[in-house]
Subunit: 227 residues, 2 copies
């Protein structure tokens, strides 16, 4: 089973407007390499014979192609266009999964994904059909009520969910044939709606999602100190 084919769907579908600039955040350089290339290289280096599928914003396909050619020229990467929502972007990416195997679905803007985390997700998905990286919550949390008031929620029972959300292809491919539902906030919720039981594995605190300029600085520091 460990020799089954592996697929990494790297989702860079977002426009990244929170960064304030015109360059989507997945294209910004981090230690000289665009963010999404860090994410791609992590999978290329961790998994033998992985098929990498990049989902790029429809209006950034040419930029994506140019960047991939410049920075990952020796790799064979399939590029597909993103859709209206995260669900539709991943759905487009999954059309390129052309056989049975293990499918990783990863945010392009999580460039610090480690070999150890990828290995844990692979093992979890092989054993349980799915592997969703999760870390404990450090801060207190509250849940907002519709009237604007809020109530505490026990953080001991909360888990922060990361990517790569990882699945056996026979679990995730049929799940993404469902009609879109607004409750689909990540791939785990799509799989669950189809009836799958989601299996959590230990995530990695350093596996941050870059959404602000400050996150770029933190990612830069974490990359420098992790080597």
């Amino acid at each position: 089973m460990i020799n089954k084919k592996k697929y990494a769907v790297i989702v860079a579908g977002g426009k990244g407007t929170r960064m304030g600039g015109t360059i989507p955040k997945q294209f910004l350089p981090l230690l000289g390499l665009p963010v999404l290339c860090h994410s791609i290289m992590a999978f290329a280096h961790s998994l033998k014979d992985v098929k990498i599928i990049l989902v790029a914003p429809p209006d950034q396909m040419d930029s994506a192609r140019t960047i991939l050619k410049s920075y990952t020229g020796q790799l064979n990467i399939t590029i597909v266009a993103g859709g209206e929502t995260r669900f539709h972007s991943v759905q487009n990416g999954l059309k390129e999964v052309d056989g049975e195997g293990i499918v990783f679905i990863h945010d392009a803007v999580r460039p610090l994904v480690s070999y150890e985390l990828i290995a844990r997700c692979l093992e979890g998905a092989i054993l349980h059909g799915s592997a969703i990286p999760a870390i404990p919550a450090i801060d207190s949390m509250r849940l907002m009520n519709p009237d604007g008031s809020s109530r505490p929620i026990d953080r001991n029972n909360l888990r922060i969910i990361q990517t790569p959300q990882t699945f056996r292809s026979d679990v995730i491919l049929p799940a993404f044939n469902q009609a879109y539902d607004p409750s689909f906030t990540d791939e785990a919720t799509v799989a669950e709606k189809y009836g799958a039981v989601v299996f959590l594995v230990e995530g990695d605190k350093n596996n941050i999602k870059i959404t602000t300029p400050g996150d770029m600085i933190i990612a830069d520091t974490l990359l420098k100190t992790s080597d």
Copy 2:
């Protein structure tokens, strides 16, 4: 009302075992200044005539005194011993609130608290009786069930809670006269149990809680780039 007395209870009660070392994390140096001194100086610089009350681990009272003398020698800081839990530590600190006013209760290990956040909390507490800094959740979240399974939770309704949790003294002092309850996970939950309605204000993503060595590196970077 803005001229009312201000109190900052800085809670350094924890033993900080997660850092692995023998020095509690609040005493570790950040740009040459111990973490807790950054927190103290933020309040001393932001608020005129604030009374600062440091709650220190009972077995680290001497270290705390020495550090404060070396680094904040000109400031008049009251030091009290922490208790069994966060609730008991804060309860001990509140015994030094000797008049009506606004009370800030702040984690010593959040050294990046800004003037702007302190000002928002002050204003919120004056207007509403309480001001609890909160930021949106960026990642997907799941809630663990007792059987080990988990279910998604709508992150749009979740808020990550920070400190300084800030209150009018007539709200927080009687609340801390209640008997201890294990549901007291922060000061907001204590105030609510006493019948207060908690008011959330906009927190600050950079106002991180230092719990791991990696957090020290991130705090160092954020401090260097925020100046």
